[in-house]
């Protein structure tokens, strides 16, 4: 299958196979008016299969969100047909406005417009805790 290469945009590569739609939704890519290609189950020398998202425009993407949802991805920033920056988002130390606390006793459930903030407390087990109530939340695998 051939997808045109992009000259100015972003390629999110090495997405865990089957996760591209999750990233698509969380990154709000459906709101873009430019071309967005989702390639599922592309061959991968490392994992056998992978997904890829190509965005035909340079946009601000939420790197923390990417690192949280699928820390193995690589992000390629392309300008004039050349990769000018390539990086792998890490599991972020803090998640600001990414996930919501589910503890019904937490103040974040009722305080008006309070930003939900989580801090990483166990990188190995990928555990985040709400800064307000300390309830835990595991990063998506």
């Amino acid at each position: 299958m051939v997808i045109d290469s992009i000259s100015n945009g972003i390629v999110i590569d090495h997405i865990t196979s089957g996760k591209s739609m999750v990233l698509y939704r969380y990154l709000n890519l459906e709101k873009l008016t430019c071309s967005v290609a989702i390639i599922k189950n592309a061959p991968s020398s490392k994992n056998g299969k992978k997904d890829i998202i190509k965005i035909d425009e340079l946009i601000d993407i939420n790197v923390d969100m990417l690192g949280y949802l699928d820390p193995g991805v690589s992000v390629n920033i392309i300008k004039d047909g050349v990769i000018v920056n390539k990086f792998q988002p890490e599991l972020p130390e803090r998640l600001i406005g990414v996930i919501k606390c589910k503890n019904p006793r937490c103040i974040s459930q009722e305080e008006q417009e309070l930003t939900h903030i989580f801090k990483l407390t166990d990188r190995e087990k990928r555990i985040y805790r709400c800064i307000y109530c300390e309830a835990g939340s595991s990063a998506v695998n």
Partner: protein, 304 residues
């Protein structure tokens, strides 16, 4: 400007300093009677309290200051839906320091982010209660002389008992502490305390359901109430509320210098007959709490 939301907001050295100040207040109360003249403490209690609110108020009066505030959410604009942030921004215009109790976990932290004066967490749901811990620490210090090499039994509701979580955090910073966690399976210490404190810092602990078996080993027995207000299901509360009731006969095998503590209020988990035992320290905790709150108010207001 600084707030105290969690007992870990205070270093070991600062806790030592607060204990020294509290002991000096006990010895020389007259020296402190005008320290907070013209200062106002706001007690914002969105949840009922006897001891904590009155203790804060008594503390401020004994420092020569004044007190404003409310003692229930329905006495404030919270009943109209006002946010915690807006409430404390308003109160910051009137008071020099705020003590807040709120049923929602994390509410005092939200308050401290919005307020322009220091905020003291006076209890947030089942989460933290740092000034109770300060009262507990002064009691242990005065009864035992130090915080090192103690076997501390925590008994009852260890899941929702905020005083227990704060006390574990505080005592884990001293050497030779050994915890015995006594609770029904349903009310065991939450994983985040076990993993983030006890296991993380290699603090020796054992979990048991048997108070009598643990009794002879204990230097401190910290009893807690099973709190009706923390349960969503009344049946669960009824099933668990009488799990542990301390009576004089259960103390037969206890050490002679055991220190029996309870954050109060009690319902029936310590028999009134135990009050006459010289090892009962829970009303001393109440008094010690006032002195530690005085010391904390002085520290946060920067009063020498």
């Amino acid at each position: 400007m600084r707030s105290i939301i969690d007992i870990l907001d205070l270093s070991v050295e600062e806790i030592d300093s607060l204990i020294n100040t509290a002991c000096d207040i006990i010895e020389n109360p007259d020296k402190y009677c005008d320290k907070c003249k013209r200062k106002k403490l706001a007690t914002l209690f969105f949840e009922p309290s006897t001891r904590t609110r009155l203790s804060f108020e008594a503390a401020m009066y004994e420092l020569g200051g004044n007190v404003i505030g409310f003692s229930a959410a329905n006495n404030s604009s919270a009943a109209k839906g006002e946010s915690v942030s807006d409430t404390v921004k308003t109160v910051s215009c009137y008071a020099d320091i705020i003590a807040m109790r709120h049923p929602k976990e994390g509410a005092p932290m939200v308050a401290s982010m919005a307020a322009s004066v220091p905020v003291i967490n006076a209890g947030d749901g089942g989460h933290n209660h740092p000034t109770q811990t300060l009262a507990d620490l002064l009691t242990i210090y005065r009864e035992k002389g130090s915080f090192n090499n103690l076997t501390v039994g925590l008994c009852g509701d260890l899941k929702f008992g905020r005083t227990v979580h704060s006390l574990i955090n505080a005592l884990s910073r001293y050497s030779g502490i050994n915890f015995i966690l006594i609770s029904p399976d349903e009310l065991k210490l939450p994983d985040y305390v076990t993993n983030n404190v006890l296991k993380k810092y290699n603090i020796p602990y054992e979990e048991t359901t048997d108070l009598l078996e643990a009794m002879p080993k204990l230097d401190i027995l910290y009893m807690t109430r099973v709190q009706r207000e923390r349960f969503f299901n009344e049946q669960d509360y009824i099933r668990l509320k009488d799990s542990y009731i301390l009576t004089p006969d259960k103390l037969d095998t206890a050490k002679q210098d055991l220190c029996i503590m309870h954050p109060l209020p009690r319902v029936n988990e310590i028999s009134v007959a135990v009050d006459n035992d010289k090892r009962a320290c829970y009303f001393k905790q109440v008094k010690n709490g006032k002195y530690m709150r005085m010391a904390l108010i002085l520290m946060l207001l920067g009063v020498e």
